[in-house]
Amino acid sequence: MDPIQIIFIVVALVVLAAAVMVVTTPNLVRAALWLVLALFGTAGAYVLLNAGFIAVAQVVIYIGAISILMIFAVMLTRRVMTDSGPQTHQTWWLPALLSAALFAGLVWMLSGWSGFEASMPAYSDANQVVELGVALVSPEGFLIPFEVASVLLSAALIGAIYVAWDRD
């Protein structure tokens, strides 16, 4: 077996196990830490697919910002060590049904996919970051979605400042 394949299997198992732990751990902070592990494993999977930029962006955004914010919020709003709640909800069957349907849909879609036998394209020396940057700002590429996302983010930033503004 290829060393890359061994690493992929290890990474995939870690992601799956961590994802299961996120929803089964009663302690909220621990669940957040398992989520960090799952996100980190996903970044590892991106690395194995030669998508270094996406992997690093995943770590910066999801682990460096979002999960730290989540842990902060949990720690500030709950009793720190002794917080644990019930693991199920009255309407647990609805999300269970939805996720089962989603899983079945994914399996159905992938069963007709011919890409499993294809080998990974050779690693290109071209600077992927430059290509991504050019694609984001070229009119033939993703200029409009990029600008819409920028406007949305600016609006969110201005809104956050407005909410937090000290009006005395």
């Binding site: 060393p3 690093v56 770590v59 460096g64 910002a65 730290i68 902060f72 720690m75 060590m81």
Partner: protein, 407 residues
């Protein structure tokens, strides 16, 4: 390949030669794993010497001798300290979250060691040439904040948790000017790879310190804040939060956190030297990689000396000053510098390197003067401090009798 001029490649070739009859990918895998071990051990071994250097330098600044008993010049003092730390009792608080508590020091040390994977020690001596190296450094640094939160929370100690909150608030705030100032070398080198950034600084005046002095200084200041060293050492305040997030740690676990912090302090010196002072570049470094390593260490230690100098001479900054300095001064200045540098690199494209450096240096000086004037103007707008009571009469000596007689 000559062993004396390029030992790393020579050893690599020798090892690959030993494993020549193994199936295809495995010799490379084994050599790469060995490389990981070498880079990580180099960092950790360096800590032993750095602690001694730090104590000696601080002692000289304070007119003392520093460690001078164990070994020549006290060189083995750190070894004795480490042995002491490892034989100490390893305590864990009751009700601590044990797995998280034990994991936090490891993550704390790892977040620093991982940075070393992309540092080019010399020509072709580097762990890996990531094309997003700089972003990788930022990403790995954010793991340190996570480790601090884990340590503070799992200790089940209010002081540790409060210390962790304060530390993370500081880390997250200073990450903003840090990231913006890192963007400027990226802009100048037109690449996010650390190797490419070093390659772009191939002449003396091409060093990014001359092209972006403000970015270099902002990067340096906010890195010091990231490490939590003086004057930003609010993370450890005995009268407020005792020792901060690592109060419950002892023995080997404390040693890991301590080693991680020490290595981080040297790592910021390494990053400053790499991003702004040309890393391993110097006369003759292309032909003799070992020389490049010497330049790299010399530059890094030079920056580290400044870190130590600041540590042993500056008083601590107040917490509200620390945050307003970051958000109201460093961040806007870094953003303005980024915009000006982006415009100038486009305007000056194709000019001689010394000319580019000169124009950019002058533009940075102008920016700094403008920022200074704005700060002065804002300070003058503030209501002055109220003087309590009237000015007191001051006793003066009587006029000299001889002069009076003449009059």
């Amino acid at each position: 390949m000559d062993f004396l001029t390029n030992p790393v490649d020579a050893i690599r070739e020798w090892l690959l030669g030993l494993m020549a009859n193994m199936p295809a990918p495995w010799p490379d895998v084994i050599v790469n794993l060995l490389g990981v071990v070498v880079v990580a051990s180099f960092g950790l071994g360096l800590v032993i010497i750095l602690v001694w250097v730090e104590r000696k330098v601080a002692a000289r600044f304070q007119d003392r001798f520093g460690p001078n008993r164990v070994g020549p010049y006290g060189l083995f003092q750190t070894v004795a300290d480490i042995l002491k730390l490892f034989t100490k009792e390893d305590t864990t608080p009751d009700n601590a979250d044990k797995p998280v508590y034990n994991l936090a020091p490891i993550l704390s040390l790892f977040s620093v060691l991982l940075i070393w994977a992309v540092i080019p020690f010399s020509k072709d001596w580097l762990g890996t040439d990531l094309n997003v190296g700089v972003l990788y450094i930022v990403a790995v640094g954010s793991l340190g904040a996570l480790a601090v939160l884990m340590a503070g929370w799992s200790s089940n100690n209010k002081f540790a948790l409060l210390g962790a909150f304060r530390t993370v608030a500081q880390l997250v705030s200073y990450e903003v000017p840090l990231v913006i100032s890192i963007l400027i070398p990226v802009l100048l080198a037109r690449s996010m790879g650390v190797h490419a950034i070093v390659d772009a600084q191939d002449t003396f005046f091409g060093m990014f310190f001359f092209m972006a002095p403000i970015a270099a200084v902002i990067f340096f200041i906010s890195s010091i804040a990231e490490v939590g060293r003086t004057p930003f050492d609010l993370l450890e305040a005995e009268s407020e939060i005792v020792a901060g997030f690592h109060i419950e740690y002892s023995g080997a676990k404390f040693a890991m956190i301590f080693a991680g912090e020490f290595l981080h302090a040297f790592t910021i010196a390494v990053l400053t030297a790499t991003l702004f002072f040309g890393g391993w570049r110097g006369p003759g470094a292309e032909a003799y990689p070992i020389l490049g390593w010497v330049y790299f260490m010399a530059k890094s230690l030079g920056v580290y000396l400044i870190v130590s100098w600041i540590r042993s001479t500056l008083p601590r900054i107040r917490i509200d000053h620390m945050l307003s300095f970051n958000w109201k001064y460093l961040t806007p200045l870094a953003l303005a510098t980024l915009i000006v540098t982006a415009l100038l690199t486009k305007i000056l494209e194709g000019q001689a390197v010394w000319y580019q450096s000169l124009v950019m240096f002058l533009s940075n000086v102008v920016l700094f003067l403008i920022a200074n004037e704005i700060v002065k103007w804002r300070e003058s707008k503030k209501p002055g401090r109220q003087v309590v009571g009237q000015p007191r009469p001051v006793a003066r000596p009587p006029a000299e009798p001889a002069a009076e007689a003449e009059a």
